[in-house]
Amino acid sequence: MSDVTDLASRIAWPAEGVARVPYVVYSDPGVHEWEQTHIFRGPAWHFLGLEAQLPEVGSYTLVDVGTTPVIVLRDEAGEVAAFVNRCAHKGTQLLFVPQGKVKQVMCVYHNWCYDLGGRLTSVAFEKGVQGKGGMSPDFRKDQHGLARLRVHRICGLIFGTFSDATPDFDSYVGAELVANIRRVCSRPMKILGQYSQLLHSNWKLYIENVQDPYHASILHAFNGVMKLDRLTMEGGVVKGTKGWHHMAYSKMSTDRGDEVYGKGPMRSAELSTYGHGLRDHSLSEFWDDFGDNVSLTVQTIFPTFVLQQLRNSLAIRLVVPKTPRTCQLHWIAFGYDDDDERKSALRLKQANYMGPAGLISMEDGMIGGLVQRGIEGDKEKSSVLELGGRGVEPIEGSRASEASVRGFWAGYRELMGV
């Protein structure tokens, strides 16, 4: 196990603070390990799943919080409980089929059984066989239950934390971002489907990308040319508590961007002939889901959660660290129980924007890989994040700022102690 006691000096964060990110954090194994204890087991809320995945008592889903496998289930009382997916006996992973329904949680190795409240209820051969062997009389099953996470449920979303020091969810996230969760998730949700991507980059490169409004209309050329999302549209960034979380939003009907985006060296200038050439317009058909004319919101909750509204394409994303240079990005697309056939069909059509083949999101999967390779030879150097200032305050009504990216790093530095 690598020595992480001198992590702060090993990372040596530059004096410019969150306007710089030392490249070492994207590949150092000691940093990766330190993140497990300080972020994933630390005072932060982590997305665990959707209530819609747990329709009945005993329904469960499996999720990773950092590198810890977790079971999320519907207990006897109809509440949601979350436990570390590990037998108290020898550490075996208890459940290994990603979703299902159980009457109890049973370990296949030695038949130790836990009820839906995580209590150890039976141990094979506890009393021995024919008077020989078995557990000693002072073995107490109630001392060997499953490790439980604290759970918070909001509008069908389930979050969990390992730490007693984590603030309550609303304080952790901030009132405006909690309001957006209520805005998008208050109606009963219907899961449309799920998939994931293996990304060849550190998990933080993905979440930084999501928290960055600067790239959206540039890297995603489809955005700018198709006038889906331009920085010239009315919009802005709202910050969550301490700037750790963010929400970027824009209103599509207010664009005045042809002058900026139609001029070289903007890449969208070259593509202007294509911009006239979209042959099918059904992908452009959409409605105002929430009655506020806001056609795009992308919200993060530090460290790994994203709530996406791309017109009527709604989804949750969760990024899970695997190794220092790889991560897995999970997507769950959803609509509402009260969507009629037309709305369901349009949401499914607009899902062309998202996911591994997303007309908009495709580049997010690969850009981290380019950064990961670009920085490999210069781990003592840093990135430069100075658009819109050097702190975490957003600029009112503007997305020409990297404040929300700097805000992620403010959270990271605080929890990591670097």
């Binding site: 899961i191 449309l192 489907g193 799920q194 998939y195 994931s196 991507q197 293996l198 990304l199 060849h200 890297l219 050329a221 489809f222 040319v225 593509l271 294509y274 050439g277 979209l278 042959r279 099918d280 059904s282 992908l283 897995q328 697309a333 369901s344 499914l348 059509k349 899902a351 062309n352 996911g355 591994p356 083949a357 007309l359 495709m362 580049e363 999967g365 690969m366 890989g369």
Partner: protein
């Protein structure tokens, strides 16, 4: 295997030839010819085995007209940014699962290897093509093609249709 009547407008070998030509276009280009393999309207979608089995309707790609197919080609060739790569599809024998009216429905397993221009090679995806083939103006075309990937976890991205 379902028997195909001798006078069925689409023969098994015609459907099979259509499939071979189809993957050749994806492997060797030009991608601009891809939409010409479909009727208009049509259905082309990529999904995962997990979503199929759980009856989730989400697609990874979804096109229901030639126009959408052309738009996907244009996005791939002119807008989307990704590291250059090529595909190599390998097909199993096809199984005819239905031959009713004017439509031949067949299932074909496939492997698709992806080679990045800078060298990395992987067995990228495997799955099954579920195809409905019809005759239109003397040509065999896909009225619908459903690509069901065995994998729910995709390596990086899917830029070129499968």
């Amino acid at each position: 295997m379902v028997q195909v009547a001798a006078d069925h407008p689409v023969t098994a070998s015609q459907a099979r030839a259509l499939l071979s030509d189809y993957v050749a276009i994806l492997d060797d280009g030009p991608l601009a010819d891809w939409p010409s393999f479909f009727t208009d309207p049509c259905l082309y979608r990529i999904t995962t085995r997990e979503n199929q089995e759980r009856q989730f309707p989400l697609s990874i790609m979804l096109c229901d007209s030639r126009a959408m197919l052309y738009d996907r080609v244009e996005a791939t060739e002119k807008a989307n940014i990704f590291e250059p790569h090529t595909y190599r599809h390998v097909l199993s024998d096809s199984r005819i699962v239905a031959a009713d009216g004017a439509t031949l429905k067949l299932r074909t397993s496939f492997l698709c290897a992806r080679t990045m221009v800078e060298g990395d090679f992987s067995l990228f995806v495997s799955g099954v093509y579920i195809d409905e083939v019809v005759q239109e103006s003397g040509r065999c075309l896909f009225r619908s093609k459903t690509v069901v990937l065995d994998q729910s976890r995709i390596d990086t991205l899917i830029a070129i249709p499968l």
